[in-house]
């Protein structure tokens, strides 16, 4: 009914956190020494955690946009106030919508986040791989 609102709310929070973190990482970065090509410092800053937090934000936003379209397709969302069709169908429909948000919506948000955590673990392994290979060759 409106399950995508839960990951949507998470997407807003994660995006805000990623933007704040990106700003902090940029501030923490050392001042650009002379002779360094433009963009190289920026790319170093991008390697921070904010970049990985944007992965989660992208997954959430991507899913939310396409799910919002699906809800529009099924008439569960409308492009005018009160936006959620259930809100015009009485208290029973609203409680049903809230129950669905609490079950399906929360599970969606949790699963996307869990998959992102898995991606962090895998990326960490991949990042360490060249060093491990170099050590083995030495």
């Amino acid at each position: 009914m409106a399950c995508f609102i839960v990951p949507g709310a998470e997407a807003i929070v994660v995006t805000a956190a990623a933007l704040i973190l990106k700003q902090r990482e940029a501030k923490k970065a050392l001042p650009k020494p002379t002779g360094v090509p433009a963009g190289s410092m920026q790319s170093e800053a991008k390697q921070g955690f904010s970049r990985k937090l944007f992965w989660l934000a992208s997954l959430l936003w991507g899913g939310v946009v396409l799910l919002a379209f699906e809800h529009l397709w099924h008439g569960e969302v409308q492009p005018f106030f009160p936006f959620l069709t259930a809100a015009t169908e009485g208290a029973g429909a609203v409680s049903e919508m809230l129950a669905e948000m609490a079950s399906v919506g929360v599970t969606m948000a949790v699963l996307v986040t869990a998959i992102w955590v898995g991606m962090l673990v895998v990326s960490r392994i991949i990042e360490k791989r060249p060093a491990a290979q170099a050590e083995a060759q030495a």
């Binding site: 399950c3 997954l59 699906e70 397709w73 599970t107």
Partner: protein, 101 residues
């Protein structure tokens, strides 16, 4: 069917993204959209399966056609979003060069 079509789109897009390894194509955007939606629709499918059990796998023909149509529309929407973002960002400067001429 919507979930299936989105998963296929996600896998194909990710394979192209890996093969091309070209940031200027902005294929990452498509990958995030399709995978995000696939995960969320998977959760939806699990909840529906818990409710319907075996009946989940034998949908009515009309529902299947509607879901397929929805799946294709979702893919079309994602592609439109991707192409609009690509043209606005214009990483290769193609649009900029055309406008300068």
């Amino acid at each position: 069917m919507t979930l299936l079509l989105t998963v296929f789109a996600a896998v194909i897009t990710t394979a192209i993204w890996y093969q091309k390894n070209d940031k200027t194509l902005q294929l990452g955007l498509l990958c995030w959209m399709f995978w995000g939606a696939s995960i969320m629709w998977f959760v939806d499918a699990v909840f529906e399966y818990i409710e319907l059990r075996a009946d989940y796998f034998t949908p009515a023909l009309e529902d299947m056609i509607n879901d397929s149509f929805l799946g294709l529309s979702v893919i079309a929407l994602a592609l439109v979003i991707w192409i609009v973002v690509l043209l606005i960002k214009d990483p290769r400067g193609v649009i900029k060069n055309r406008l300068k001429k």
